[in-house]
Subunit: 203 residues, 2 copies
Amino acid sequence: MHPSPAARVDRPRREAYSLEELLDVVVRVFIERGYDATSMEDLARATGRTKSSIYHHVHGKEHLLSLALSRAVDALSAVLEEQAVGEGRPVDRLERVVRGSVQVLVAQLPYVTLLLRVRGNTEVEREALERRRSFDRRLSALVEQAIAAGEVRADLDPRVVTRLLFGLVNSLTEWYRPDGEHGPQDVEDDLVAFALDGMRPRG
Amino acid sequence: MHPSPAARVDRPRREAYSLEELLDVVVRVFIERGYDATSMEDLARATGRTKSSIYHHVHGKEHLLSLALSRAVDALSAVLEEQAVGEGRPVDRLERVVRGSVQVLVAQLPYVTLLLRVRGNTEVEREALERRRSFDRRLSALVEQAIAAGEVRADLDPRVVTRLLFGLVNSLTEWYRPDGEHGPQDVEDDLVAFALDGMRPRG
DNA sequence: GTCTATATGTTGATAGAC
DNA sequence: GTCTATCAACATATAGAC
C-alpha cells in the first residue's frame, strides 16, 4: 500500500554519518533522559534521522548501550592495569590509580556516567557491572597493601575506606562538567588532597 | 463482553493492605529495576495483586514515585533544619549534618536511594531535584562558614569540598546494606573520620 | 544509507462485575 | 478493595522503495 504523495512529511534527507558520531549523540540522550526512558524515536529525533536509519548502524537499543559501556569499562581497566603491578609504595600507586580514574572520568564523562548508572536489568548491563566489581576488588587489594605498609591509617575498616574512596571519585559524574567553573587539574588535585588528608587543617 | 469461565486465571484474592505496605514494595522494585523500566504489571506481581488494585490506592505510577520521593526529601530537610541555625562552631554543625544525613540515609535507605537516582524527566522529579539543590546550597554555606572560621582548610575550593563531602555521603547508597557486614555506627564514624582527616596517618 | 509504512508486542490506565 | 477484560498510545523492530 503506497501513501498518497500529500501524506509524506517533508523530512530532509541527511548526510551519512559514522557510528562514532551516532554514539556520541545517543549517550548524551541516554544520560539526559535515562536509558529506559529513551525511545528509539527520541534517538532518531536527536540525531536528526529516522529510526530505520539507526537500525542500519546497530542491531537495536541494547547494542547501543553495549557499545557505550564497553568504552567506559575499557578506559577504566587500562588505568588499573598500569598500576596494579606497578612499582613504588602502595599508597603512591593508589594515588596514581585515583588520578588516572579522575582523568578517564573527565575525558570520557558521558560514557563513565552511563556505566555508573547501570542497574543490571539485561545481560549487557550485568557484564559491565561484573567488570566494575573486578575493578573494585583490585582497588581494595591496593588499599589493604597500603594499610599493611603503614601508609594508610589502620583505625578504619579497609573495605569501608575502599568504598568511600571509590564513591568519592565516582561522585564526580554527578556534578563535574567540562565547561563548568572547575578545571580538571584543580578538581583532581583537590580530590586527592581531600582523600589523603581530609577537610581539617593540619598542624 | 464476558469471558468464558474456562478462561479465568485462578488468581487468589488477597487481603486488603495499606498504602504504607504498598509503597515499601514498590520502592524496592523501583530501585531493583529502575523506575522507568518498572511496569505497573511488575508492581502488581511484586505486591501479589493486580494493576487495578494498585490503581485503587494511587492515581498512577508517577504518584507512587511522588510519595516515595517526598518521604526522602522530608527526612533529609529535617536534618538540615536542625543544624542550619544551630549553635556551636560551624565545623561541629557541619559534622552533625553529615552524621544526621548518614543516619537518615541508613534508616530510609530505599527512599533516599530512589531520590538520588531521579533525573528530572517529569514535574514530580524536577520538584524533588530542586529541593535537593536547596539542601546542597545550605550545606555549601555551612562549609564556607567553617573555612572562614579557620576550621576547614582554606587551600581547597569550597565548592569542590562541598560537592565531595556530599558525594561521599550519597555514595553510601551504592554499597551500604542494613543486613551487610558493616554496622551503621561504624560506617558513620569511619565516614566522618575519612572526611575530616583523610586516609593518611597523622603525625 | 536514508526514507515511508507497517507489523507486533507492551504500556499505563479504565470500566464494571463481584 | 479486589478482580477480569479491554483500550488507545507507544514501544522495538522490520520490509522494501529510492
